[in-house]
Amino acid sequence: MKLSFLVKSLAGAAAMVAMAGPALAAAQSAPSPVSLKGDVMLEKTVSENGVSKVQLVEPKVVIPGDHLLFTTRYRNEGTQAVTNFVVTNPLPSAVTLSSDAAPGTEVSVDGGKTWGQLGSLKVEAAEGGERAATAADITHVRWTIPSIAPGASGEVQYHGIVR
């Protein structure tokens, strides 16, 4: 009990110091200066006067083949710039990345061990050897935001299809 209290109090102190000056490293348990807020919407194609368009609706009813838009909003609530901000999102196993979801987004097909553009990645083929990875093989996506100014916010998104 005593030890855990000590760690906690030290952590608190460290966080306060970190806020005050850039010299000290923030401890793991320090309140993050950045908030992450996840959200999911269902992309529903509606047809109006022969023109189809996509509406975002609450995902009340979701079936295989539906397109979901996963959004993660970030906000720098601190007083300093946050740099090299890398958002990593493991894909839920029931979701495959839509092939047109996020051109240029770095993806992983091996559980987040290696990363790259989808076109450059390979996976083991069922019949042996390797084959080019497809959108269905993607396990993780990630985005890199070079810098977030204090008070600034933004969002990253990916389009998924329910398998």
């Binding site: 999911v40 083949g65 985005w143 890199t144 998104q157």
Partner: protein, 333 residues
């Protein structure tokens, strides 16, 4: 919907993520597999970020967003018979498969309709049978005959199928080689409707049940053909008298010939050719023949018997287009 300042928007673009660049694919277009994720599956998404500040590195994890996959109601019906099933005195056995192409367990009501417009005759549905031992062959006494009023498949898991036999009798008046069809329709018990119709709370795992592209109803036509046969029996006689003049005089031998000609695409089974010995004549022992091959008179291993009481030759099963000829001789007293 949201407002962001320009630099941040640019930052996001550089990072390669799409902002409001929604894909224009129809919601159902991604349904590549007959069955997708099982109904009731939870889709849980969490993002984690690492970053640097002047104070060092940090990580932050988002809240978890959860979506439950609802049950898709879909079904496929196919005809497994490649050729029309034959119907004669026995019903035609039509074979179908019913597949649950949805993503949750579902039972399907079955309906067999023999009244298809344009057909030569309308068959009569004798029974609808489940292929209980899943061998694709109707096994009387083994496969489950469904009771009318409860024509339905058992609950089928996603992508699971069951074979269904529909036994169809020929109506009176159907003639040989006429064909007809029977439509088997399977409908999801939870409900049917236009794609997207949903039944709140009726899905597996407490979610909704949603009608898929198949409208949760499917059907298939299977064909049957009447395979009937007719028989004509022609009797002829030749006379051989002791003087070589073919006159029916006492002592002359009359040889009767009975030609049983079966026509049609079907066959006749259990056929017997019988005849009596005319009055004033005596059967010539050992004269009985089938297709020119001698038969013994006694009731033994061969097909015929002959004697004073007449002759009887069992022909068994004869297919259409075959003629069997029985011959025997009598002597005029």
């Amino acid at each position: 919907m949201n407002t962001y300042n320009t630099p941040l928007r640019r930052a996001a673009s550089i990072a390669g993520c799409s902002i409001f660049a929604l894909s224009l694919t129809a919601p159902f277009a991604g349904t590549a597999h007959a069955t997708g994720v099982l109904a009731g599956t939870l889709i849980e998404n969490t993002a984690t970020a690492t970053y640097q500040t002047g104070a060092g590195t940090g990580t932050v994890t988002s809240n978890k967003v959860t979506v439950k996959v609802d049950e898709l109601l879909d079904v496929a019906v196919a005809t497994l018979s490649t050729a029309p099933a034959t119907a004669n005195s026995e019903p035609a056995v039509l074979v179908y498969s019913v597949t649950n192409s949805g993503n949750g367990p579902e039972a399907f009501n079955l309906a067999a309709d023999p009244k298809i417009s344009g057909n030569a005759f309308d068959g009569t549905i004798k029974s609808v049978v489940l292929d209980s031992n899943n061998n694709g062959i109707y096994d009387p006494g083994v496969d489950t005959v469904l009771t009318s009023g409860a024509l339905a498949t058992p609950v089928l898991g996603p992508d699971k199928s069951v074979k269904v036999f529909v036994l169809v009798n020929l109506p009176a008046g159907a003639t040989d080689t006429q064909t007809s069809q029977v439509r088997l329709t399977a409908t999801a018990q939870t409900g049917t409707g236009t794609p997207g119709t949903s039944f709140a709370g009726r899905g597996e795992g407490g979610g909704d049940a949603v009608v898929g592209l198949t409208t949760a109803s499917a059907n298939s036509l299977a064909a049957l053909i009447a395979s009937l046969a007719n028989i004509t029996l022609t009797k002829s006689a030749t006379i051989a008298d002791p003087f070589g003049t073919a006159k029916p005089v006492p002592g002359a031998v009359v040889t009767y010939s009975l030609a049983a000609k079966v026509t049609g695409s079907g066959s006749l089974d259990g056929l017997h050719v019988t005849d009596t010995i005319p009055e004033g004549t005596t059967y010539v022992p050992g004269s009985l023949k089938l297709d020119a091959a001698a038969l013994t008179d006694g009731a033994d291993g061969d097909a015929g018997t002959g004697g004073t009481g007449g002759i009887d030759v069992a022909l068994g099963k004869i297919t259409g287009g075959t003629t069997r000829t029985v011959a025997f001789s009598v002597k005029i007293n």
